[in-house]
Symmetry: none
Subunit: 213 residues, 4 copies
């Protein structure tokens, strides 16, 4: 039974998408992908030359777009560092928008890149992203705390925690929501909760400190 080539290529892609999303790169099985695609295992290799390349074919587009967008944000953050300008949460909005925008086109691919890429060249993307969030939060907190150049150990731990949980939260939302508008609303709410919460936390701490002194 002969099917059009692009048809099969897509079926393989779909099957792989689902397998990678469910199992992660390492645990994914080419035979299972083949079966799910209704194709023999050997035939996959007419379309994608290896498991790695199949993964790449899925993730690269989103990664490229992601890289472009993130570079811009990085650049702005660097600039504001140099110009001693006050960093504000608008950068989060940028990251958020980037991710949500990417999500609209590449929802599963984005999740795979962020959450299921252990064993591939993308495995550090999430932690790089967390690092970026960390450096933004760090800058915000430094500004608030006054003229210090380094965070206290406590603040470091706090910022670490916040960047981790915010990133992980965002990734979770990407993973669990199929629909773009719902996602955007949830992301907005999620960020609102975090901004408000962080604000409250910092003010409380500031009050505590004043009270102590």
């Amino acid at each position: 039974m002969q099917i059009l080539k692009e048809d099969v290529r897509n079926k393989i892609r779909e099957a792989a998408l689902s397998e990678f999303k469910r199992e992660g790169y390492l645990q994914a099985s080419m035979r299972r992908i083949a079966q799910a695609a209704g194709v023999t295992s050997g035939n996959i290799y007419r379309y994608y030359e290896s498991k790695e390349q199949l993964f790449d074919a899925i993730v690269q587009p989103v990664f490229e777009q992601y890289t472009v967008n993130m570079k811009e944000i990085h650049h702005k953050v660097e600039l504001s560092y140099q110009s001693d300008e006050r960093i504000n949460p608008v950068y989060f909005k940028n990251i958020e928008s980037t991710l949500v925008e990417l999500f609209k086109t590449y929802s599963s691919e984005l999740t795979i890149m962020l959450n299921q890429s252990t064993g591939t060249k993308y495995e550090n993307v999430k932690s790089d992203l967390r690092q970026l969030v960390y450096s933004i939060l760090e800058r915000v907190l430094l500004t608030i705390r006054g003229e210090e150049t380094r965070l206290s150990p406590e603040d470091h731990a706090l910022v670490q925690m916040l960047s981790s949980t915010m990133m992980e939260g965002l990734c979770l939302l990407l993973r669990d929501n199929e629909e773009g508008d719902t996602l955007r609303k949830l992301v907005d709410q999620f960020l609102f909760v975090n901004y408000q919460g962080i604000n409250a936390l910092i003010h409380q701490e500031t009050r505590k400190r004043s009270g102590m002194e």
Copy 2:
């Protein structure tokens, strides 16, 4: 040199703990565990009858304790459902305390159960826990919203999101912190951020609604 049986059993357990924590159940290798334990791979099977059972031996204690504690919380939640009593965030505190308490005794085991159990019978624990958090948050919101018996789709999505991100955040903290006091402080901060944030969100929404009417 003869080594006491329990000694060996513990060495294997320790090695497995570290391997499962680092690699997760599926990627963990019995050979590496054996090597790290200073034991031959075959000998593991005199102490634990399979990879799964070894995983079990590590996770079951924390799971049992966890189950007992969670059942109580569940029970209280159920009760308050029936008694129409108002649920308050104290339940979160219970969950938090339970996890932090468990963490004191079983820090790695807890992380493994929650984050590294894909492929085992524990793989749903986290989502069950999320479900519990969901039902608490749901109840809270229902109370706030008035006498409704079911959440609106929007509120459902919101509560789903909040329970997910809070759970995931907590799991992350458990995973990344070796030290109990630091952990507790971070958990407190994390929950504070979330409570405050959620409060702010709800009030804002309430205001918006009133404004609309």
Copy 3:
């Protein structure tokens, strides 16, 4: 653009010739042959029913001609055995001429048959040929040694060696030379070296023997 059938058949043949010559039967790839022939891999099978049969189609003509010629030589050798006639090196000249003659028409095919046929029914041709050379040399040596009917073990080993190295040398020349005149000259030189060398060896040995007795 329609290509005539014979045209395609030839293109495949040419491509296969080159592939078999370079890679040998087993390492040859039908896909590469197809590609080199500018033909799809499936289409090869309309002209040649299998890899083996394609190989056959290339080698059989030279094999048949070779067989005819060799049978004659064989026959002469047999005859001279029976007639107790003295065998002389002219038979080598016959073999040489046969090979060089075949080479003129079938240079690559001959090389393939002799050197690249492992895994096919022709894989023994070279050793059969060596056997023929052996029997000629054997007869020559028997004549020289006197009236013996079997060679001594030492002479057997010697003749074995000489027939092997001469055959292998010839095959090498066939393999490495594209051009007929160069080939013929080299073959002449090669055989001259061997004849002279063998003569010198035998005379020396004869002298040694006489000296010993």
Copy 4:
């Protein structure tokens, strides 16, 4: 059924030796090696970490010894180039001795390295060796021809041919003889035949040339 480790290692080595000798590296099958060794295919990998490494384990010892010996010969040849000293056939004797000496310890391994190593890092050893023989013969002929610095195209072809056939002849002897003393005798005879033959050829040609002028 448990057998001593070294026993199995040897059985695998023996089976591999035989398989590589018969089939060559590429065509050799790990499954067949396993079967011939009376071992399951997986078990080979406890002893040798890959097909390539198994091949290496067989060939490396002979290659190392070979390299040491050949470097010395190379060195001598280079020296005599610089010192403008006349090169004499003693270098062949060196090469011959080296190969025969190696053969005594590593008969099959040597054959495998020289004749069955396509696809491995040893695949160029034979042609390197042929190149060495070429450069010796070239030097000899240059000396004979007078003061020329490069061979004429005809002489080049001749020397090419002679180095090829001599090398190939030697390799053949290594391949076909299991017993060291027999081999040495045959090699001696083979080289004698070639020396005498080459001498005769050169003198004849010299005569021809004189006659022509």
